[in-house]
Symmetry: C2
Subunit: 310 residues, 2 copies
């Protein structure tokens, strides 16, 4: 357990995702230089590649070939990246900096930023539907995964959550509203990443359900942790935080406690998989614990017991 080198694992996985993205976005032919540069600028701006790494780890658990998962993994990162570009636009959050660097529209202008986001979203589906990927028999499997990702990214998922978030700015949010928004805005893509790997690996229905619950708890914990991190940072533009967040509604202590409980529940779902689920476990911990502390010891002990047995 304790000997799993999570830092090294994440670094290696990030490197192979970066290579796949770089290969995919080599300049080809005559096209708008600006939009191509803007897409690369956004894609290679220090993202952690959480969603692709999660999808690959979930695929590994069920023996999926990395080569068959990778197109979906990089598609997921394209969708995540487009959502950040559009979120940063003046029409939404009007952010000038992301990860300490000027946002895409600050560098390339609002028009190109808007189009670069559109192009990334479209390219995600272009890469997922590449027919040469499919053996005749697995066309339906590929359609199923692309369909789930579309659902998670669309009005029933991420975009719907963003729209709810925008509407919530105009009124006082309660815990139910905050969770409703989080589940869609951030949770849906993380859940889809976890499920996609398992589906592509041919997971049995009961195992897919476990991975899905892991993804649900993780996704919600991730957003709560992210909100907590945001609260402890002074926004560069001095904007007042009006968004519906966990800390804003229940306070920072209760928010941390909730995130730890969600992490505990998320790890619990992995117990039946024993040591083979160590990467999925390590990813969740590496992302959540720095913001909120370790999962409650009771939950942790149970996970350890199970691991020792398996």
């Amino acid at each position: 357990m304790g000997d799993f080198a999570v830092e090294q694992y994440l670094k290696q996985r990030r490197a192979i995702v970066d290579r796949a993205l770089d290969h995919h976005f080599k300049q080809s032919g005559r096209q708008s230089q600006a939009i191509h540069k803007a897409m690369r600028y956004a894609l290679f701006s220090g993202g952690k590649r959480l969603r692709p790494i999660l999808m690959l780890a979930s695929g590994d658990l069920f023996g999926a070939d990395v080569k068959s998962v990778m197109p979906f993994a990089i598609a997921m990162e394209m969708i995540h990246t487009y959502s950040l570009i559009h979120d940063d636009l003046p029409a939404l959050d009007d952010d000038e900096l992301r990860r300490g660097e000027p946002t895409v529209h600050k560098v390339y202008g609002e028009g190109i930023a808007l189009l670069a986001g559109d192009a990334l979203l479209t390219e995600a589906f272009h890469v997922m539907t590449e027919p040469t990927l499919a053996q005749p028999s697995d066309g339906k499997l590929i359609l199923r995964v692309a369909h789930e990702i579309a659902r998670a990214a669309g009005i029933a998922g991420m975009v719907g959550g963003q729209a709810m978030d925008l509407e919530a700015e105009e009124r006082e949010a309660d815990v139910a509203t905050v969770e409703y928004i989080h589940v869609r805005k951030t949770g849906a893509l993380i859940l889809a990443a976890a499920r996609a790997g398992a589906i592509l690996g041919g997971a049995a229905p009961k195992d897919l359900k476990r991975v899905a619950r892991y993804g649900e708890f993780f996704g919600l914990a991730f957003q709560v942790a992210d909100d907590i991190t945001d609260v402890s940072q002074i926004p560069a533009n001095g904007k007042e935080i009006k968004k519906a967040t966990y800390p804003a509604v229940v306070g920072i202590t209760a928010a941390k406690s909730r995130a730890r409980e969600l992490l505990r529940q998320c790890l619990k779902e992995l117990e039946p998989f024993g040591r083979t689920a160590e990467p999925l476990r390590a990813i969740a911990r590496a992302v959540i614990e720095p913001a909120v502390g370790k999962a409650s010891s009771a939950g942790k002990r149970r996970v350890l017991d199970k691991d020792v047995r398996s």
Copy 2:
């Protein structure tokens, strides 16, 4: 020939496309009210449904089932509609009116308009990848069509053309640049609509090539005709037209002549299909001729001769 009731045909086809879109976008469950309303506002604002009708007509030519083409046809309309919403935003054209009505961001705000466009683009791929559509054997066929549509809508097609268009505003455009932009910005989706119907109908490779050339000529003729129509209208906001357009580069007379020639070439590709291609012929004429006049009589006579024979 002359007895093909094009007005009635277009009206009927438009009605079935509208019904399919309406059915797909019924409100379901708790979600942001505003984004759902904004999507419907944009979708049901008097569009001609050219791309879906074209795809259905192309499918008919090869005996495709309307039910199997419809998901792709409405997806195409969603993609077209999202592009109009984003185009109208202040980041791009900053238009206050479309078809005489306030644009989406004028009614719902820029944030919701941006997200409504994102949601429509995502929903297009959600509907195209619906696994229940696919028989096990035709998963690859569906992937192929979705992939082509993604290519046509993305950086190699529509979005790439829009980005080029944006860059062209900063310098003097020549005819080659204008055609390069048109082929991508408008042509790519029209071509994809024509091809998608033929592929779903199982067209033989040589027939698919003919339909593709029809789509290419039609797409370019359509954009030239559209530019000509724009020139003859006074923009409501009094903005100077700076875009790279055919009339701006070669003058209105030469532009009309070019559009008529493109229409002639487009109709010529349909000759081998005889009367069965009458809907495709009628669609092209109905869209192009009001702006530029009839195709050159020589071309027209050839089409007629062929039709009489078949």
